[in-house]
């Protein structure tokens, strides 16, 4: 029962030293010494030990953290939607379900004979069992999730199995080394399911991966991507750099219930949830915010590194700029290195990789009624005017119903349509055509017929416009290119009317 005696112990110790003491994940670790797994529980924990054993083998690679992502080989396979992989997954799940059954049996047995053991031991055992349950269920869930084509689509680069690895890692409260072992998750799968991959192939993977990532990096780097102020100038070395793996970053939940496996985004929510599992979780100590371990090393400022090699936020970058919090890491990674899979349901054009960004956008989508001639929209009038005051040649764009100017109010039109109406021709062409047509104007002003229908008063059109005032409304891109051409033009009226009075 002494954790120190276990072979994988050193590894765990290292992981905990790297994890921040204030990290919520830490609680799980302290309550579930990993060395227990091998001793107490049979089937799944054997596997686990194998995993960690192989992981130890893998750590022979000199600097493991320089290989941030190890799963691209599987990514490639899965992106093709390989049915054989799917079969593997299914059989893996089958096995897991069996394990789960065993475990539940075990729990049932324990319940029958608890009295012989001291209280402390009983609770410890319970905790162990529940932890194991959790891990199995998590594996099941994520493997099952990988079967869904849509899920794989949203997680293109990430893979299902690494995800498990990541989640497991988080479950244990470990950070970099555990999760970053190339194929720690894969191993899990390999052990349980059919052995698809050789170690040799795995060793090749990271290199390919790096190359690919560097290629991506070039286009990402130009983007401004930070949650943190650029201005923070901490001297290198004055802070501790932590680097989470992408699996951890992309995991939907970071806190898992050790009993039922339910995931939570916040530790507080988990603690609230735990109350339902028994009175022992209702004590003030259990509900209290986990405290930092008193004996931990002297306080160092913690900063985070993005696992994406070549990224400015990656610690190996020449001009490395650390991220301040885990949340920053998450948002940064999603925004910069992931697909923008959330599409605004209103405009169907804006895409986001962070759900919160989408929600913020949706709140204001369509309300950006303050439009500049350059095509930029603003939700606030003062912002538009600030923009115009700043830039030469930009001018407020008047929505179409205003340009009609007649006594009759035009019906409200969609804003995007207005854009295209407003900027329908270049300035030069307008003046020339306008002139020609004016010269052609004959004397039919004040036609008495008009008098009785004030609607037609604005109908006189000065020619030239007709050719231009029918922009491709349906093509918003096209109208935008007009916008970008810079000169503000004034669209006289809707086309129907102009034709009626064409001179």
């Amino acid at each position: 029962m002494d954790p120190k005696g276990r072979p994988c112990d050193s590894n765990w110790a290292r992981s905990s030293s790297l994890t921040s003491p204030g990290n919520g994940l830490q609680t799980n670790l302290s309550s579930n010494p990993p060395s227990f797994y091998g001793a107490k529980i049979e089937a799944p924990f054997k596997q686990f030990n194998q995993t960690s054993g192989e992981f130890n083998k893998d750590t022979k690679i000199p600097d493991q953290e320089s290989f941030p992502l190890s799963d691209s080989s599987q990514t490639i396979k899965l992106q093709d939607w390989d049915p054989s992989v799917m079969l593997n997954n299914l059989s893996f799940m089958e096995e897991k379900i069996h394990q789960l059954q065993d475990l539940v049996h075990l729990i049932v047995n324990k319940r029958c004979q608890p009295f012989g053991l001291p209280d402390q031991l009983v609770t410890q055992e319970q905790q162990l069992i529940t932890a194991d349950l959790t891990s199995i269920i998590v594996q099941l869930i994520s493997t099952a999730g990988s079967l869904l084509p849509s899920v794989r689509h949203t997680l293109t680069n990430t893979n299902t199995t690494p995800l498990i690895g990541g989640q497991l890692g988080q479950l244990r409260g470990s950070t970099a080394p555990f999760g970053s072992g190339p194929g720690s998750g894969i191993q899990t799968q390999n052990n349980s399911g059919s052995k698809l991959f050789d170690h040799s192939t795995q060793n090749d993977v990271p290199k390919n991966c790096e190359v690919e990532q560097k290629y991506h990096m070039e286009e990402h780097e130009t983007k401004d991507e930070d949650d943190v102020e650029e201005g923070e100038n901490l001297p290198p070395g004055s802070y501790e750099i932590l680097q989470l793996e992408k699996e951890e970053i992309l995991a939907p939940h970071t806190h898992f219930c050790t009993i039922c496996g339910k995931g939570f985004k916040r530790d507080a929510n988990l603690r609230m949830h735990m109350r339902g599992h028994g009175d022992e979780y209702k004590t003030p100590e259990a509900l209290a915010k986990p405290h930092k371990e008193p004996g931990s090393e002297p306080k160092l400022i913690k900063r985070y590194s993005c696992p994406y090699t070549g990224c400015k936020r990656n610690k190996d970058h020449k001009k490395f700029q650390p991220l301040k919090t885990i949340l920053c890491v998450k948002n940064h990674y999603k925004r910069t290195h992931c697909d923008k899979s959330y599409i605004c349901s209103r405009c169907n054009t804006k895409r986001f990789s962070v759900m919160a960004d989408l929600k913020t956008h949706e709140k204001h989508c369509g309300k950006d009624k303050w439009l500049c001639s350059c095509g930029t929209t603003f939700s606030r009038k003062d912002k538009l005017f600030g923009h115009i005051a700043l830039f030469q040649g930009h001018t407020p764009a008047i929505p179409l119903d205003d340009t009609k100017g007649g006594p009759s109010g035009a019906p409200d039109l969609d804003i995007r349509e207005n854009n295209s109406m407003d900027f329908c021709f270049g300035s030069n062409s307008s003046s020339e055509n306008g002139v020609q047509n004016i010269m052609d104007v004959k004397v039919n002003i004040d036609d008495p017929i008009n008098y009785f229908s004030p609607l037609n008063f604005e109908g006189c059109n000065f020619g030239g416009f007709n050719d231009f005032s029918q922009p491709p409304f349906e093509d918003s891109e096209g109208s935008f290119s007009f916008l970008m051409s810079g000169s503000f033009n004034y669209a006289p009226k809707s086309t129907g009317e102009s034709n009626s009075e064409n001179l």
Partner: protein
């Protein structure tokens, strides 16, 4: 064929010899024509002399004031170099007309006035803006239907320097923003009553149009936010913030005007009730070169407020109309180290003899003084004014009721340079008028409701004030034909005369007035003895008459209208209420092409059919005042039609009023005032 050509040539040569003007160069003729400026009839007759004169005159003409847009193609064809186009007489100016104008006067047009026109929109303005590259002045006042889109079209006129948008209520910040970006050369912009424009629009104008000299922001819902940008303008000279309630003392922070506005010459914060002496002193402290300060209807004029003016070493004019004035405040103004040229205390409560005397003693160089309705002042103050301010050119002292008749003699004795004198509702008598007649430069004299004056006094004025242009005798019932004829004899330049309710006036007055060929405004309301014959004389001789009020002239009937219709082709406004004119006379008036405004209440002989015909016949109507009862009798379609041509109907529901005798009327007036 050849023979024929030869013949033509010799004929031409002969003609050249016969016509001395053929040797004159065009430039010389133009110079001659320049002297005819201001005399349209002379120009017309010049152009009718011969073909070449016709063309020369057409080429020379720079300003046009067309009556109807129908004729625009023809006149634009004739006058090729029009720079100034005044369309205020055309009630309906369509976009087509403007496009026509823009096409015809592309490079020459510099100024367009649309301040009273309707029915033009963005398209017309766009064609003006795009084609007329030399357009520098555009008046769009009262275009209440104009929206942002149309204003954005105006912004295409890149060279615009002056733009009036008063009462364009539908224009918002967006439209003004377009103007600010488009018309960078603006020197003047008037946004009075553009209630849709706020801080953002004004601020953008101030940021983008660096050349601004004059900025009128009256009655805009603006706050201090835009002020800092305004005060950064390098050339701003005239700032009008009348009725801007959003600006108050607290908002006038020191950091708002770090720069200060060194060039500001005129500041108008009248009606800004939230700016007290505190705010004013902040404003004055940063703009030291102010020459004119308008504080009408503002906070009380106290010692503190006057103290705030100490910094203004160039101050020449203070307008305090309608303010509550304290004696200490007036004294403090008197103690300012400057010499005021103009002071207005019109309708100020609290102006006393003592304070006013002190003030005028210090500002001996006053040229204009307005003490209208300062009801506390007496002959003491008037004596001080007369003794101190002998250079006065304008004195307005309507309804200074405590001033006795002797005081006016003093004014005439001392102030010889008076050009404008308003003595309405005062105790002045013939002796006073006799004294005032020494002011030989007098051009405007208002002696309405002066019941003590008679023909004798007016005769002195007529003998000496030969430059008189404006004479108001409203309800001065002591005046008869003799007085009028004396004035007409002595003052040939008379342009405006009001003899309303001078009940002794007869046709012979009108005969004498018909000698004044420059007469433009004639008001003979309630002159019961005047008939159509007198009016006919006026019509035949006063060709420039453009405003005529014959309300309650019961003896004027259709026979007066026919000569009017025939001769007074410049008549724009007529009031026919209570007269005996019928629809026959009305219809004949329709031949006056520039007639714009009718008022016809309680016209006994008017039948709806005749009125309808007259309304249809007068194409240029802008405003018609009619009795409400007529509305239901006119066809709805006709009303809509006339309205569509640009005419506004005002339906009045006044009861028929019998005439009161003048004394009784004055008593009633005094009752009303108390």
């Amino acid at each position: 064929m050849l023979k024929k050509q030869k013949l033509l040539k010799t004929q031409q040569q002969q003609r050249n010899k016969n016509n001395p003007f053929e040797v004159l160069s065009e430039e010389l003729v133009f110079t001659i024509l320049d002297f005819l400026e201001g005399d349209p009839l002379a120009k017309k007759s010049f152009s009718l002399v011969c073909k070449s004169f016709y063309f020369v005159e057409a080429k020379h003409r720079r300003a046009l004031t067309p009556l109807r847009t129908d004729h625009l193609p023809a006149i634009l064809n004739r006058y090729s170099s029009v720079a100034n186009l005044d369309l205020t007489l055309c009630p309906r100016v369509s976009d087509n007309s403007l496009a026509l104008v823009a096409g015809a006067c592309r490079n020459t047009l510099r100024r367009v006035d649309l301040s009273r026109s309707k029915f033009f929109g963005g398209n017309g303005l766009l064609s003006l803006g795009v084609n007329c590259c030399n357009l520098v002045e555009l008046d769009l006042s009262n275009a209440t239907e104009l929206r942002d889109g149309a204003v954005a079209a105006v912004a295409r006129a890149r060279n615009l320097e002056k733009l009036w948008l008063a009462r364009c209520k539908l224009v918002t910040d967006m439209g003004i923003g377009c103007i600010a970006v488009g018309c960078r050369k603006l020197r003047l912009i008037c946004l009075k009553w553009c209630v849709g424009v706020g801080d953002l629009g004004v601020e953008l104008v101030a940021i983008k149009c660096k050349e601004l000299r004059t900025l009128d922001l009256s009655y805009l819902p603006i706050t201090e936010k835009c002020l800092s940008s305004i005060f950064k303008l390098q050339h701003l000279e005239d700032l009008v913030l009348e009725g801007c309630y959003g600006i108050d003392d607290d908002s006038l922070d020191d950091d708002v005007f770090k720069q200060g506005c060194k060039t500001l010459k005129k500041l108008d914060i009248s009606g800004c009730q939230n700016i007290s002496h505190v705010g004013l002193s902040k404003l004055t402290s940063i703009s030291g070169s102010i020459e004119q300060l308008i504080l009408a209807d503002g906070s009380p004029v106290t010692h503190a407020l006057a103290d705030g003016l100490k910094e203004l070493s160039l101050l020449q004019s203070i307008i305090l109309d309608g303010c509550l004035v304290t004696s200490s405040g007036l004294r403090a103004i008197g103690n300012l180290c400057i010499s005021l040229r103009e002071l207005s205390l019109s309708k100020c409560m609290g102006v006393t003899d003592e304070a006013l005397s002190f003030l005028v003693l210090k500002h001996r160089d006053l040229r204009k003084l307005d003490i209208t309705c300062c009801r506390k002042i007496t002959d003491v103050a008037i004596a001080s004014i007369a003794n101190s301010c002998i250079n006065l050119t304008s004195l307005r002292m309507e309804s200074c009721i405590l001033v006795p008749r002797e005081a006016f003699v003093l004014i005439g004795q001392k102030c010889h340079y008076l050009e404008e004198l308003d003595l309405t509702d005062n105790e002045i008598d013939d002796e006073g008028l006799k004294s005032i007649s020494r002011c030989s430069r007098l051009s405007s004299l208002k002696v309405g409701i002066c019941l003590n004056i008679t023909d004798r006094g007016l005769a002195y004025v007529g003998m000496c004030c030969s430059k008189l242009k404006e004479l108001d005798l409203y309800r001065s019932t002591g005046i008869t034909d003799l007085g009028i004829s004396a004035v007409c004899r002595g003052c040939p330049d008379l342009e405006m005369i009001n003899t309303a309710y001078c009940t002794s006036i007869t046709d012979s007055s009108l005969f004498s007035l018909s000698k004044c060929s420059n007469l433009k405004t004639l008001e003979i309301r309630g002159c019961l003895l005047v008939t159509s014959i007198g009016l006919a004389a006026i019509a035949m001789n006063c060709k420039q008459l453009n405003r005529l009020d014959i309300k309650k002239c019961y003896n004027i009937d259709d026979s007066g209208m026919i000569p009017l219709a025939h001769f007074s082709q410049n008549l724009r406004q007529i009031n026919l209420s209570y007269s005996s004119v019928t629809d026959v006379g009305l219809l004949s008036l329709a031949s006056i092409s520039c007639l714009q405004s009718f008022t016809m209440l309680h016209l006994q002989g008017l039948v709806p059919g005749g009125l309808a015909a007259a309304l249809l016949a007068c194409g240029g109507l802008i405003k018609v005042k009619l009795h409400l009862s007529l509305r239901s009798q006119l066809p709805e379609a006709l009303i809509r039609h006339v309205e569509a041509r640009g005419c506004v109907f005002e339906w009045r529901d006044k009861v028929f009023q019998a005439e009161l005798d003048p004394k009784c009327w004055k008593l009633q007036l005094e009752d009303l005032m108390q």
